[in-house]
């Protein structure tokens, strides 16, 4: 954006008592815009990754085999009942340290796992657990009579799962999946705790220099509002598209 547009904008907001002078500083503006981009990247990577984790965990949980379901159950319980920040520390400060040391001992060069990747991994695993619970509830809420009807029509076990049970389960689970994804977008703010340069982190860097906390928080909230709004819009669109007569409103 050219200065000719920014300067009057900043002046106008100054009249309202809001100090947005940082956008006139090239370095700070670029850092902030980069932060917006990093937050977006985090969301775009963690959404599919968390869904994949969710499907995998739901498959393990409803596999009916105790040696698969029990570890998955334990993982779900531990993840649900501990703070994300502590999980992030356990992963980044402990596992990452161990991996780095091990690689150094082997002489295999530097650790390829960046803080950014750790945030993607931890948030995906965390939210994947919540997706798995939603999917499992969806699978369980498919009526028995529907499954029996499909079986009586000669569907094999695999066909039954792929054509009847899963399509219905995904539709039942969709509202809570979208809810989880909105939560996930908000959760990416935790990345700033391990110095990943997302929008929160860049804002902290700027406001420690300029003392314009309120102004930057408004921008952060707008950005997160936009992202969560897009996610719930996409969710509603998907719900409309997948809607079947006779199910839901």
């Amino acid at each position: 954006m050219s200065d000719s547009l920014l300067v009057p904008g900043v002046q106008a907001l100054k009249g309202l008592g809001l100090n947005y002078a940082f956008v006139l500083d090239d370095m700070e503006r670029q850092a902030f815009v980069r932060g917006l981009g990093v937050s977006l990247q985090l969301c775009l990577l963690t959404i599919p990754a968390s869904l994949a984790v969710g499907v995998l965990l739901a498959a393990l949980l409803s596999s009916g085999r105790a040696w698969l379901a029990a570890p998955a159950r334990a993982f779900v319980e531990v993840t649900r009942n501990t703070p994300t920040l502590v999980q992030l520390y356990c992963a980044f400060l402990v596992l990452n340290m161990l991996i780095t040391q091990q690689l150094r001992d082997w002489g295999a060069g530097p650790n390829p796992l960046t803080p950014f990747l750790w945030v993607v991994i931890v948030v995906s695993l965390h939210k994947g657990v919540f997706h798995a619970e939603a999917l499992r509830a969806g699978i369980e809420s498919v009526p028995h009579t529907t499954l029996e009807a499909a079986r009586s029509l000669g569907f094999s076990r695999r066909q039954l799962l792929a054509r009847v049970q899963l399509p219905l389960a995904v539709r039942f689970a969709l509202p809570s999946l979208v809810n989880n994804l909105v939560d996930l977008v908000k959760m990416t703010a935790v990345a700033s705790a391990i110095a990943v340069g997302d929008v929160t982190y860049q804002s902290i860097m700027i406001w420690t220099q300029r003392d314009n906390v309120l102004e930057l928080l408004l921008l952060i909230l707008l950005w997160f509002g936009l992202l969560t709004g897009l996610v719930s819009l996409a969710g509603r669109w998907l719900e409309q598209r997948l809607r079947m007569p006779g199910y839901g409103q």
Binding site: E77, V78, R80, N81, T82, P83, T84, L85, V86, Q87, Y89, C90, L93, V94, M97, L98, Q101, V182, K186, M187, T188, A189, V190, S192, A193, T200, I204, W207, V213, L214, L217, I220, L221, F224, G225, T228
Partner: protein
């Protein structure tokens, strides 16, 4: 009596076995045995001995987290019930305003709210000639109370609206007044329905108190970091962070279990 004893006899060993199959009890017993063995033979690993030394500080830190969570949820519940009542107000503008409040505070990342309350509020408040310190932990309480109130408002609205309107009509036809219907019929049922989601909320706010360490409150996470940076031993760092995980789990998992038990009991009714 003799019959009772005969009937109870086979049940007793079975119950004994069931207790032994409880994985939590087994893990606890194994840990105790290990600790006993170490202290008896004097071969306690250095990291464990150090953890034992730091444990009181960690627990004191956890107490700070618990205090913050209890205060935030208490405050949030009070405000949330008022906002929830406003959500059901017959006046449209009031309803819309309450809706906006709930939407806004449910869609904000908690961390951002905590930064907000920490940096925007002053560190001292002057009321007339008196000035009070406004410590960071109190600001975190406020930062967590805001989203709590929005969530409690939603829980309250959901509970009131889940009571069939036929009950209101039936009570009206029995000549109850509006206030009496609320107090004697609707609210008692609502309380029962609100309890499980409210407990869930409490557990999630407790977990969010860990974010307080990022704004300089000396909570359990902060204490673990201090311990790890003071001792500087790889094995101790591993141990202290996983102890942190275990402490939160030990506090939140029973709450989650109780919530689920309550939900199951309500389903049966």
């Amino acid at each position: 009596m003799a019959n009772d004893a005969a009937l109870n006899a086979p049940a007793a060993p079975w119950r004994h076995v069931a207790a032994l199959r409880n994985p939590w009890l087994l893990a606890g017993l194994a840990l105790l045995t290990l600790l006993g063995l170490w202290s008896a033979t004097g071969t306690t690993p250095v990291a464990v001995a150090l953890l034992w030394k730091w444990l009181p500080s960690l627990l004191r830190g956890l107490l700070v987290n618990i205090e913050i969570s209890v205060l935030a949820v208490a405050l949030g519940t009070l405000v949330g019930l008022v906002v929830g009542a406003l959500l059901l107000s017959p006046s449209k503008p009031v309803q819309r305003l309450a809706r906006l409040y709930v939407q806004a505070f449910r869609n904000v990342p908690l961390l951002v709210l905590i930064y907000f309350t920490t940096y925007v509020f002053p560190f001292e408040v002057h009321i007339g000639p008196w000035s009070f310190a406004f410590p960071d932990w109190l600001k975190v309480v406020l930062g967590l109370a805001l989203p709590t109130s929005a969530n409690v408002a939603e829980i309250f609205r959901g509970a009131i609206q889940s009571i069939p309107s036929a009950q209101w009509e039936a009570a009206q036809s029995l000549a109850f007044r509006r206030r009496e219907i609320l107090r004697l019929i609707v609210l008692p049922q609502c309380l029962r329905r609100m309890l499980p989601p409210w407990m869930n909320l409490y557990a999630s706010i407790t977990m969010s108190t860990s974010l307080a360490s990022l704004v300089g409150v000396h909570d359990v996470v902060d204490m673990a970091q201090i311990a790890s940076n003071t001792v500087v031993r790889t094995d101790f760092t591993i141990l202290v962070y996983f102890t942190l995980l275990a402490l939160f789990f030990a506090y939140c998992y029973p709450i989650a279990r109780a919530t689920r038990a309550l939900e199951r009991r309500h389903e049966r009714h």
